[in-house]
Symmetry: D2
């Protein structure tokens, strides 16, 4: 596993996510690229790798991602969330920086429900939540690959048609995710000092 701990003054950002068909994984990669972050993958059974909890515990910022399935995070992500009751009980993650991202097939598709849940989870952990921070591109001249074309405020979102594979994701959604990673890392760095 690569390390997210960069040079002096860098914050340690960890992206923890579950991906069903690869879309959320691509978002995670883009965010990690922007943030210089480590990835912790939740597997198909909702479990973390052996050192996953330790990596999360050492993070300055935790970026959480899941596809939106049936109006919320995937059950695998929720299994991770439920298992996080251990650090919750001791408030080990208190005052960490948190952020969230999700993807779905429909333009809206209740992605806000997923982001609201990720926010709620972060609040239970005593966290500090970072907004998207990029204004929507929503004038007549807006293009699909503009930054935040989808118009989210509380986290990063992506959308691809129900019959489009992960390789067909919109470049703008991934670039939006990459910039979001940069933003989270910068916020974590400011807060860390």
């Amino acid at each position: 596993m690569m390390t997210g701990t960069g040079p002096h003054g860098m914050a340690r950002v960890v992206v923890v996510y579950h991906s069903g068909y690869g879309h959320t994984q691509r978002m995670a990669n883009s965010i990690a690229e922007g943030a210089g972050a480590e990835l912790v993958v939740i597997d198909a059974e909702g479990n973390l790798p052996a050192d996953g909890w330790e990596t999360l515990g050492a993070a300055d910022a935790i970026v959480m991602g899941s596809p939106t399935y049936m109006g919320g995070v995937s059950w695998q992500f929720k299994k991770f969330a439920d298992a996080s009751s251990a650090p919750w009980y001791t408030q080990t993650w208190k005052d960490k920086i948190f952020a969230g991202f999700t993807t779905s097939a429909a333009l809206n598709g209740d992605k806000m429900s997923t982001l609201n849940y990720l926010f709620t989870l972060a609040m239970q952990h005593g966290g500090i939540w970072v907004s998207q921070g990029v204004m929507p591109s929503n004038s007549k001249s807006a293009q699909r690959n503009d930054a935040n074309y989808l118009g989210s405020y509380s986290g990063a979102i992506a959308q691809s048609p129900s019959d489009a594979g992960a390789s067909d994701m919109f470049a703008g959604d991934l670039e939006t995710a990459r910039r979001f990673g940069e933003r989270v890392a910068e916020v974590a760095r400011r807060f860390q000092r």
Copy 2:
């Protein structure tokens, strides 16, 4: 005021809404057309016309609409909602059918926050809430004017660019609203018997 009370077996549907720049009004008109509904307009000061409360009290179904401003209903709509504490206190609107709609410039733009609020308000009134009932059009071949292209489930939504007037609204969004009106009227009719 035209009457929404139709022939024998019809339900009385009322659409109560505030519109800032005309977009919500066009949605309201489309829903009313589909539902055979009366309109009750919340004015620029957040007030109802003289017979507004009486019309709402006599309704079988109340469809509530507002633009999404700053992540929620307009203050004018909220003033109406706060004033509805009178029928709330006596639960006069209990068991009415409720539904909601909204519009904004961004594709997502926190419209779900507005719909969630309208739902919460309906729940306080002891109501019964009707879903959108049309699956999103979200495959590669989806077109902007398809029914429920925007992918909402909990109510009807529309979107037009920040620099587009109400006359430029997408025909598909308005047709989606019209069908939603039909649906609410049908649910109200079934429940009324």
Copy 3:
């Protein structure tokens, strides 16, 4: 399995739930008692019994319940929700009556997040959602075992201390649940005709 199909004119209500430590199960039992409902239990692996999906498919009303864990439904409930993408895809559950319930240790404890999720799930299924329908008991003279003492509007909720077993649940919370079952059955009956 007992049958929820009662005499002529009765609606078939099914309560589908996951319970971790027995509190949600007691709520489910109370709701089922009020509604004359069948129970479908989601097991510790998030699976339904063999005939679970068929029972749900035949229901007029589906009441969904889960403990609130880490600000949302349990992962086991979410696994059921994700598996419901099969009836969602064909909208087999469209126009069913839906309702929800949850329990947690804290008085608030983000139970509304869980109810909001259950609502969102019902909306994805094209459903019709029933409010709690009982005003909160919130004056100075309110007693812990009053109906809706906890003050929920969008579904039934219960609360018991983190160190209290299911056998210690408050009688008022269970009676509130029982009445909620009655209400859902009545709404389903009215809608069914």
Copy 4:
């Protein structure tokens, strides 16, 4: 107006709120006491004092408060929120620290809906949101005046019976608010450097 700008290294915290019957005002006072904050009062017409916007613009942290009326912020608060579209448009408040609080008569009473809205508003402004940060007091031995007895995570909440005046508020709720003010100021201070 007292100044919230303290000695070297202190953050400037501003509490902006609307209060209908004095309960929210007492919470605001407690938070301001904890944070060393200035107060900006939204009046009965939803307007700010002459220098209100300037004060908010100069803040490192903005703590927003409203009673929960009909499941959301009061219309007066919403009028303020809608008027904040001016700093929103230019993202003048980007990267400020935000937090929220509310009060209602019922124990739950949809206060989470209000906090979720305040969060959504902060996200539209590109803000950073601070959690409550105190674990709920929810064991059998919990007392009404314990810190976070009501069990909120995403902001500070208070509850008093529908027939209790502001002078009858629970000391524990106000102390919880005071500590929340301390927390917001500390987070703002850390982030400011």
